[in-house]
């Protein structure tokens, strides 16, 4: 079965049981092939990811209400239980995703197809939504000629029963593929039933289970099942470890019949699964493209729904929605004050404009000025920072500078946009002493927190040679220093601070690459690079 057959089957199954399966993610770019896939979907209603609550849930229809004298509510997008076609779902904000998920759970949506045009692997449909949709449709290669699956519903309302053993198999498979969410096996059960109905059977058999698992599981898998050493080249000791686990698993002999299925699914696992896992360990932060994070304000940016408020001189009035909210009350108010014949507006009608914008970015340079770094590359690092500063100035970024050496870290320059000051402080940066990496990270973390509360989006750029040898409490203790640095990095990751690790040692330092992993940050080793090269790499890594 090739990917186009699988696509056809997925579409057929969803048509049979939209409520049980939720729908599908269609990860394709705009193309004739995608149009062919979309033409198989019947009666869908298009929804852009920018839809507001008013449009979604409906609200008071002001003009109809006023002209009729009765309350007329406009119907929301969801009023007739549509099958939704969410366009550009990779740009769907989390709150809309949450509302759609709720609507799916409550049965206000018959089914949902999320078009996903993401180019990068981390540009995807929001996970809350993806969890509820059974299939991912991602056909590869050329579309076969005359590809036109029959997607008709099931008017007869047939039902298929499923045996306990098959449920066991479905749940076990999910566990072995490292799928945490229990929605996945439930969706697989529904898919197996649908497939049985499709083949006019009233009992689910093992083929149905296999097809269901191969359609629902591969894109959700977070681990390659234990006996997978042959397909994935692992480092020797890890492979050994896996082998051990694998044998212990099979001696348990818990699921002998599942192995064949595992093999079938393994062939369908995305080829970059291992690479993806290495990049984003569990609990990874949500990706945010662009420079800064989102921030609500009342001055500029993209408009979002207005809210009630008082005019305090800092915010702007949304005239249209103010008039809209005042309109229904006019008869009531006129009765109270008959002497006025103009529009009567009260403070409670005032609606304020709100906008959401990308916030400014703050680059926090954390520079290792210890003896070992000073010997190697401190000057080059300084030069690189100066070049970066020029770019930061051009993109209106804020800059802060922290250096660490001896027994602690020091904030050399609080967040500023002043280029001159930064350069001066940087030039005066002395070198020498131990490497209190953990202190540097801690101070950077504190500064990042402060900056966040002021509405900046901090990014930490760590330049070091990585040989931490001073612990948080200032004692020279190498293992403790390394452990402290790790836990500070974990904390930064937890706070969701973006970071970048630059190794300025003479040779790439293994522990720094690991630190970068803990931080969830890109790691750049720069043996023998000059300032210019460093800058190029950094700006490339930051631009992403």
């Amino acid at each position: 079965m090739d990917s186009w057959d699988r696509t056809a089957l997925a579409l057929q199954l969803v048509a049979l049981d939209p409520a049980g399966l939720g729908g599908a993610i269609i990860r394709m770019r705009e193309s004739p092939a995608r149009n062919a896939v979309l033409s198989c979907l019947q009666n869908t209603k298009k929804m852009p990811p920018t839809m507001t609550d008013d449009q979604l849930y409906g609200g008071l229809d002001i003009s109809a209400t006023l002209s009729s004298g009765h309350v007329v509510t406009s119907k929301g997008f969801l009023h007739d239980r549509p099958t939704v076609l969410l366009t550009m779902s990779e740009r769907c904000p989390t709150d809309l995703a949450a509302k759609l998920s709720m609507a799916l759970d409550d049965g206000c949506i018959k089914g949902l197809f999320a078009l996903d045009e993401g180019a990068d692997p981390d540009e995807t449909c929001p996970p809350a939504l993806a969890d509820r949709l059974a299939f991912q449709i991602k056909p590869e290669g050329r579309m076969p000629q005359n590809w036109a699956p029959k997607t008709t519903g099931d008017p007869a309302g047939n039902k298929a029963s499923i045996g306990a053993e098959q449920i066991r198999l479905i749940a076990t498979l999910a566990a072995r593929l490292g799928i945490e969410s229990l929605r996945a096996p439930l969706l697989a059960v529904a898919a197996a039933r649908a497939n049985a109905i499709l083949n006019a059977r009233d009992k689910v058999n093992d083929d149905d289970v296999e097809i269901a698992a191969s359609l629902v599981y591969p894109h959700r898998a977070t681990q390659i099942p234990e006996d997978a050493q042959d397909t994935a080249p692992l480092p020797p000791e890890e492979a050994q470890q896996r082998e051990d686990e694998g044998t212990s698993e099979s001696t348990d002999a818990e699921i002998p019949q599942g192995d064949l299925l595992i093999e079938a699914i393994k062939a369908l696992l995305p080829p970059d699964l291992l690479a993806r896992l290495a990049q984003s360990p569990k609990g990874g932060k949500s990706s945010s493209a662009g420079a800064g994070g989102m921030r609500k304000g009342n001055r500029r940016g993209r408009p979002i729904p207005p809210r009630q408020g008082r005019l305090d001189g800092r915010s702007r009035i949304d005239l249209v929605s103010t008039l809209r909210s005042a309109a229904p009350w006019q008869p009531l108010r006129r009765r109270k004050r008959p002497e006025h014949d103009s529009l009567l507006i009260e403070p409670s009608d005032i609606r304020l404009k709100r906008f959401v914008e990308q916030s400014d970015r703050l680059l926090i340079f954390v520079v290792d000025a210890s003896g070992s770094a000073a010997v190697s590359r401190l000057n080059e690092a300084k030069g690189a920072i100066e070049l970066l500063l020029g770019q930061a100035y051009a993109s209106r970024d804020h800059v802060a500078l922290i250096s660490f050496r001896g027994d602690g870290a020091e904030l050399l320059l609080p967040p500023t946009r002043s280029l001159v000051q930064t350069k001066k402080r940087l030039a005066a940066l002395p070198g020498g002493g131990g490497t209190p990496l953990a202190s540097g990270l801690r101070d950077a973390g504190l500064l990042a927190q402060q900056a966040k509360s002021k509405g900046l989006t901090p990014t930490i750029i760590l330049l070091t040679d990585g040989r931490a040898n001073v612990a948080l409490d200032g004692t020279p203790d190498r293992p403790k220093a390394a452990a402290d640095a790790q836990s500070m990095a974990r904390q930064l990751r937890h706070d969701g601070v973006e970071a970048l690790v630059i190794d300025m040692g003479r040779r790439p330092e293994q522990s720094l690459a690991k630190l970068g992993e803990v931080l969830g940050a890109p790691y750049l080793a720069l043996p023998r690079a000059d300032a210019k090269k460093l800058t190029q790499t950094v700006s490339a890594a930051l631009a992403h």
């Binding site: 979604l56 509302k99 929605r183 996945a184 809210r307 009350w329 008869p331 409670s348």
Partner: protein, 333 residues
């Protein structure tokens, strides 16, 4: 669709305990359920609605008042009869506007009859019951502010459009969310009495059982619910009995000092930690039919009552739940 029966939920004991405790003593103040997708957060809350014992309320009263004289004067409750009704469990949808939450002028009556009348919002309907917010961490800030204010005072004050109305709004906040999608503001975090972290069951047998039950429920919910009706009723009976026994449960001085010591050891801010810990322990003692609170009770409720009140410690790799347990072991040794 019918809610999934509470007693049919597999595992998730912390979550179930927390919900039962707030049902026994609503003053504990709410439950926060945080966890990954597909762990059964929403299912449990909706199941709770089916489990709660009914309350007595005046017929047609918008705030579910217990006695006719407590009905607000803006509501026209004609009958004045007191009837049994299920405990309200009100959903606060993410897209809810301020008007819908606190209530506003009744637009229909203003338009057609030119009358000024108050149309109560979700807070009124949730009085004496539960207010459930799914994805609580994604709630708009200004709605959160409103909720904080009302949850603290137990009273909803509406001053708008020439209306000046206040009514009782005492409810148990139940929130659920996925921490990956956004943090919860610490002010709101503190407002929840108990917090639970849930994850999918880790052993395969449990997972299979979850799938089996859920599938059976979806195929034929009536038969399935009938099967668990008796178990649900048993829990409900225990909750009612425990609620009545609550004032009788004693807490001696050693327990009080244990509570205080525990909170000091953990460095939780304010005194809400101690108070919640004590209330939760008392509710647990009542549920288990004990006459006095023992250290054993403290030990079981400490993680859910305290873990969300700690300052974050970057040097600790384990979760805050483990930190609470460590302190419990050392203080209650």
């Amino acid at each position: 669709m019918k809610p999934f029966p509470f007693s049919a939920i597999v595992g998730q004991d912390d979550m179930k305990t927390a919900m039962i405790l707030t049902a026994i003593d609503p003053r504990i103040g709410g439950v926060l359920v945080f966890g990954d997708r597909g762990t059964g957060k929403s299912t449990a809350v909706r199941a709770l609605a089916g489990l709660l014992p009914p309350i007595e309320a005046v017929e047609g009263c918008p705030i579910n008042a217990a006695r006719p004289e407590e009905c607000p004067d803006w509501a026209d409750t004609h009958s004045g009869k007191v009837r049994k009704r299920p405990t309200p469990v009100i959903d606060l949808p993410l897209g809810a506007t301020e008007d819908r939450v606190v209530g506003a002028l009744d637009i229909e009556r203003a338009l057609t009859r030119g009358e000024k009348a108050f149309e109560p919002g979700l807070l009124a309907r949730a009085n004496r019951g539960y207010l459930y917010i799914d994805e609580v961490n994604l709630l708009e800030d200004h709605i959160v502010d409103l909720l904080l204010d009302v949850a603290q005072s137990g009273e909803n004050v509406v001053e708008r459009e020439g209306l000046s109305i206040r009514h009782a709004a005492r409810f148990v906040l139940v929130g659920s969310g996925n921490p990956e999608e956004g943090e919860l503001r610490p002010q709101l975090l503190d407002r929840f009495g108990l917090s639970v972290e849930v994850r999918s069951p880790q052993n395969i047998a449990d997972r299979i059982e979850v799938i089996r039950r859920r599938d059976a429920f979806e195929q034929d919910s009536d038969t399935f619910c009938k099967k668990y009706r008796r178990k649900d009723a048993a829990i409900r009976k225990k909750i009612v009995a425990a609620h009545e026994a609550l004032p009788e449960i004693e807490a001696n001085d050693t327990i009080l000092s244990d509570c205080a010591e525990l909170c000091i050891a953990l460095g939780s801010d304010g005194l809400r930690g101690e108070l919640t810990l004590l209330k939760a322990a008392r509710a647990l003692a009542a549920y288990q039919g004990d006459a006095t609170i023992t250290r054993e009770h403290l030990r079981s409720v400490a993680p859910i009552a305290l873990s969300h009140r700690l300052r974050r410690d970057p040097l600790d790799e384990a979760g805050s739940g483990a930190r609470v347990m460590r302190s419990v072991e050392s203080v209650l040794a």
